[in-house]
């Protein structure tokens, strides 16, 4: 079990560190960094599912027999670029929140909203 599944477990650990940061930290920028960590964990998990022992990159040539699966790679390739695009939107929102509230800490923002 350990020899065959260790990659998945280490990647789950990575995802959970990201999830922890997103849930517990109040700073919006830190949350975004945590989200990136979580995201990378998911990316690696997808890619590791397509990997074959002794395989090679899915670029067909005559002297290669086994290839890893190209489909997860396609999905993750586009997801990385979409990920950075959404990160940019998140950062834009954080900047606007800072300009309005003078803080990027979640609790301070909520406090200012509730006190008239």
């Amino acid at each position: 079990m350990i020899g065959t599944h260790y990659v998945y477990w280490l990647l789950f650990a990575l995802m959970m560190i990201g999830l922890y940061v997103v849930i517990s930290h109040g700073n919006l920028l830190k949350k975004l960094i945590g989200l990136t960590l979580f995201q990378v964990g998911v990316f690696l998990f997808f890619i590791s599912i397509g990997k074959v022992d002794g395989g090679s990159a899915p670029i067909v040539s005559d002297d290669v027999e086994t290839y890893s699966h190209p489909l997860p790679q396609v999905l993750i390739l586009t997801a990385i670029v979409v990920g950075v695009a959404t990160l940019a939107v998140g950062l834009g929102l954080a900047v606007r929140i800072f300009e309005t509230y003078g803080t990027v800490e979640e609790e301070d923002v909520l406090e200012r909203d509730t006190t008239p």
Partner: protein
Amino acid sequence: MTVFTLINISLLAILVATALTVSRLRALYEAAMLSALFSLVTACLFVLLDAVDVAFTEAAVGVGISTVLLLGGLALTRSREAVTPRRRRLPGAAVAILAGGTLVYASQDLPAFGSADSPVQRHPLTDTYLHQSQEDIGIPNTVTSVLASYRGLDTLGELLVVFTAGVAVLALLGPLAHPVDARRRDDLDLVDYRVLRVISAMLMPFILLFALYVLFHGDFGPGGGFQAGVIFAAGFVLYGLVFGLDKAQQVVPRVVLWALIPFGLLLYLGVGVVNMLLGGSFLDYDTLSSDPAAGQHLGILLVESAIGITVAAVMTTVFFSFANRRATR
């Protein structure tokens, strides 16, 4: 234990250690730099897992663009995080441990890592993508043929998301949200450092040439529109960082960039519509030429260029929006 396993475990251990450090650091500039290191190690792991195209993208995006964006965001806000109180830490840790435990429990049903008879590998599509594609499309890099041809509609959707994100950032931070008066800051600019100025000016043509190579060589080796677009943008970002925004906007005026964002998307859609007019189905490149394989080549080239244009324009616009915001405040 093979060398592969050993390298794999070491890289994953570095990743977990970096992630733990990032989660503990309250100085966010440091955290941003460490997350760049995190991306670099991830790119190495992608190479190890045979995903060279993905590694390429991760290296360009994670280390280059997203670090610059994070630093830009930090420069506009506060770079020090408040202490996370214990009452917030405990529930977060509980949720993470619980979810992680569930995942590990569920992973018992997953096929062994790297096994050749997992459902992923046994699925009939595997053969279609790896062998049939050589007759259908005839390009060696199967990642490109799946991305641009077999799953072209998917990729169109992804491009639409990138387009929407670019428009959203423009609406949030761009000159549409705030009038711009490009005021020069008094402190020392990066352009005053001669070494930086000369070296980056020398590197510029090579970066752009490399981006073109990545774009047009994507059929035969790792590369394609997404990677090329990001590398293009990295070149412009470097230029803007060193020589200042005014100079960068003389080279690529903002209006041109704004026009290029929808242009790529429309080009992609246009290829699909032309396919339909020629009697095929949407994004069926066979119709573009009398020889289906030549049609596929042409279609993939057009679509990859469209992706490259939109991605490069969006990434550059996003960077300019963040940097402009700083200049105006």
